[in-house]
């Protein structure tokens, strides 16, 4: 039973006010304002007048084949990197959990890319995937592993450019999933494994029937968070391929940014943003619905 603290009616609002004011001004208000902008042929230069055009921006976005390609790319990026991060992250977590020395060292090493700036790692991956034979990846594939005969111009072709972006996404994010899975694994009571071992369950059986069910809620959290993150992919694409060649590596946010700040089509960009946000919110609720029924998913 909670004790009741006494306070004046306005006290909670005083605590909320400074933060909330900032939050409303820079987050809530822009969200509404953007909706408004999306109905205009919005002119950004001082002195120009914006014209109300109804749903025309949305219509144009939906008719724009580059937008659909960008959306498809974003979905594909999300699928590939979310699966990659979850599988590798869980694998690493299971191993780090079981390793008998240097636990913290391994955790630290795998987590390091997570705290490194996106701008820096984007340039770094561009460099190691250089088209030259001396590029780290080309060199490894040709001269160390003998898997290729000649250097690949990674950034020049759509498919190979995606390999750079996908691998960066997975490499940078797997440490995050690992740390969370690891914490979840550490929360499983060891007695469960001991009694399972007595019942004759092997490593695989224990993983399947104890570990996976016990980390179910954590897995759902990671899934939802990574999918939201995947849809926000931007810096790596913007800096490594710039959407090229031929807009084929464009993702929704890079396309939105380009149309808005390069073409100055702010109304159009606002409509793209709204469509993306709607998709992300729907997908997130969909996941919670689909995978979270039995849980009191309170986030």
């Amino acid at each position: 039973m909670r004790a009741k603290l006494h306070y004046r009616w306005y006290t909670p609002y005083l605590f909320l006010l400074p933060g909330l004011a900032l939050y409303v001004l820079w987050m809530i208000y822009p969200l509404g304002y953007e909706f408004y902008i999306s109905f205009f042929d919005w002119k950004i230069m001082p002195g120009q007048t914006s014209e109300f055009i109804g749903w025309a921006n949305y219509q144009r976005v939906l008719d724009d084949k580059n937008f659909w390609l960008a959306l498809e790319n974003t979905v594909r990026y999300t699928a590939v990197t979310v699966i990659g991060q979850m599988v590798i992250g869980l694998g690493l977590a299971v191993m780090v959990h079981r390793v008998f020395i240097a636990k913290r060292l391994f955790r630290g090493i795998y987590y390091l890319p997570v705290v490194t700036s996106w701008v820096v790692v984007s340039f770094l991956f561009q460099f190691i995937f250089s088209a030259h034979r001396g590029g780290l990846v080309n060199y490894t594939l040709i001269d160390v592993l003998h898997m290729l005969d000649e250097p690949v111009n990674w950034i020049g072709e759509t498919n190979t450019a995606w390999i750079i972006i996908y691998s960066l996404g997975i490499w940078k994010g797997m440490g995050w999933t690992m740390v969370i899975f690891l914490a979840a694994l550490q929360g499983i009571p060891p007695e469960l494994y001991e009694s399972a071992a007595i019942d004759g369950a092997g490593e695989i059986g224990q993983f399947r029937f104890i570990t996976l069910p016990m980390i179910r809620r954590t897995t759902l959290f990671i899934l939802v968070a990574l999918v939201i993150g995947g849809f926000q992919v931007f810096i790596s694409v913007y800096l490594i391929t710039g959407g090229g060649p031929l807009h084929r590596t464009e993702v929704v946010l890079s396309y939105m940014y380009d149309r808005s700040f390069d073409r100055l089509w702010f109304g159009y960009g606002a409509a793209i943003s709204y469509i993306l946000a709607a998709i992300v919110v729907l997908v997130s609720f969909g996941q919670l619905r689909l995978f979270g029924q039995s849980d009191d998913a309170d986030y």
Partner: protein, 414 residues
């Protein structure tokens, strides 16, 4: 007592800025440009020319703000949108019509009584890039073009004596260069944007639109333009031209300076770059190899323009200064070719070590479309080029689609 002190402090605080202002009637003019930040041209501007101007105009201070070329257009547009734009800027000639159409530039005829005197002193071609709806929104600052640059080390290794006079000659020299090794190419460029492909299109006798810029059908998908693209595709497929046309790969300049690429096409700024980064290298120049349309290069260069809400009078003074013989000559020393024909007769240019080729090439060079939608048209063109060079569409198919899109863009501005 305390209250009195407070009042005094308040009055002082309010009055101080007023005093400061009274003493300080110097006007600061912000000049944004893309003179390469670590380069002789920027040093010349900051260490020689601006001090010279400020000595003559003690009441004007010029603040030079350099930007990398790639992000300049977007930075300046967002700055203007946020009311934080410059007073003056050095704009790539292809941006002038777009900026004018956005209403951010001042028409010089209206604000500069002596405008005609300055307009008469410069080349008509570069001047025309400042026109939007019949008014001039700037003056040319420098001009340039791309010429053929060849690498004498590679030529020697391949046993090539002379740079090619025609495109056919260039093709004939290819095998000797590619035989040197897998990283060797006879020619390289960095993409399919206008600056790279237009010289080929024009030299093949093609073009993008009619003269009045009303339609591109029959021009951008005309027989000659198609032939130019087919030629480029053949050359890349046969390993003569570097695949860097497709993006990525080795930068053309780097390949040229490191004796891998036998030739490139580039502008006069390459000389200061070579001097700084490859001091042992000597750039050799020639006219572009000629096709059926002649040896036609592309005109580049910059304009200087004044922005709405600028410190107009002070900014105009600096603009006039950039048109002076002194400014033009000093900048020509660091790779920025003058826009004043009168100066070209001077001994300096007549005996110059490398401007000769550029001046000759400029006689036939053409400008990219001075159209407010150029950035978008160029995107269409770049994409069509990529489709063709990657073999995903025939030149005719890709250019037919491009013609349709470009016609649409042109129509929006009718």
């Amino acid at each position: 007592m305390k209250a009195k002190l407070l009042v005094l402090v308040l009055i002082a605080a309010l009055a101080l800025p007023a005093f400061a202002h009274a003493q300080d009637d110097v006007v600061t003019v912000e000049f944004w440009h893309t003179y390469n930040e670590v380069s002789p041209e920027n040093e010349m501007l900051v260490n020689t020319l601006i001090p010279m101007f400020e000595a003559e105009h003690p009441n004007i201070k010029v603040e030079s703000v350099p930007f990398p070329y790639g992000e300049f257009r977007q930075t300046i547009l967002t700055a203007l949108a946020g009311g934080e734009g410059p007073d003056l800027a050095r704009l790539d000639i292809i941006w002038s019509p777009e900026f004018a159409s956005l209403g951010v530039l001042l028409p010089l005829e209206d604000v500069m009584p002596d405008y005609a005197d300055y307009a008469d002193a410069v080349f008509a071609g570069p001047l025309s890039t400042n026109v939007y709806e019949g008014q001039h929104y700037g003056l040319p600052l420098d001009t340039n073009t791309r010429v053929f640059m060849y690498n004498s080390t590679v030529y020697e290794q391949a046993g090539i004596a002379e740079p090619p006079a025609t495109i056919d000659d260039l093709v004939a020299q290819c095998d000797a260069v590619t035989a040197l090794g897998e990283d060797y190419y006879i020619f390289s460029d960095g993409g399919t944007y206008g600056w790279a492909v237009l010289p080929w299109i024009w030299s093949f006798g093609g073009s993008l639109t009619d003269g009045a810029m009303t339609t591109s059908t029959g021009y951008v998908n005309g027989e000659e333009t198609v032939a130019a693209y087919e030629f480029l595709k053949d050359m890349i497929d046969s390993g003569c031209f570097s695949p860097s046309f497709l993006g990525g790969g080795m930068d053309s300049g780097t390949g040229y300076f490191t004796n891998l690429f036998a030739s490139i096409m580039d502008g006069p700024w390459m000389f200061p770059i070579a001097e700084a980064q490859y001091p042992d290298f000597t750039i050799q120049t020639a006219l572009l190899p000629a096709g059926v349309g002649g040896s036609i290069s592309v005109v580049g260069g910059e304009n200087i323009a004044l922005f709405v809400d600028s410190e107009t009078e002070a900014a105009l003074e600096f603009l006039r200064f950039t048109q002076s013989d002194e400014y033009q000559l000093k900048m020509s020393e660091v790779g920025q070719l003058t826009v004043k024909p009168a100066l070209l007769e001077s001994d300096y240019f007549q005996n110059h070590s490398y401007y000769g080729t550029f001046l000759q090439q400029l006689k036939t060079a053409r400008a990219r479309l001075p159209h407010p939608a150029w950035s978008q048209i160029e995107e269409v063109l770049t994409d069509a080029g990529q489709l063709i060079l990657r073999g995903e569409a025939s030149a005719q198919e890709a250019l037919d689609m491009a013609a349709e899109e470009i016609d649409g863009l042109l129509a929006e501005y009718e």
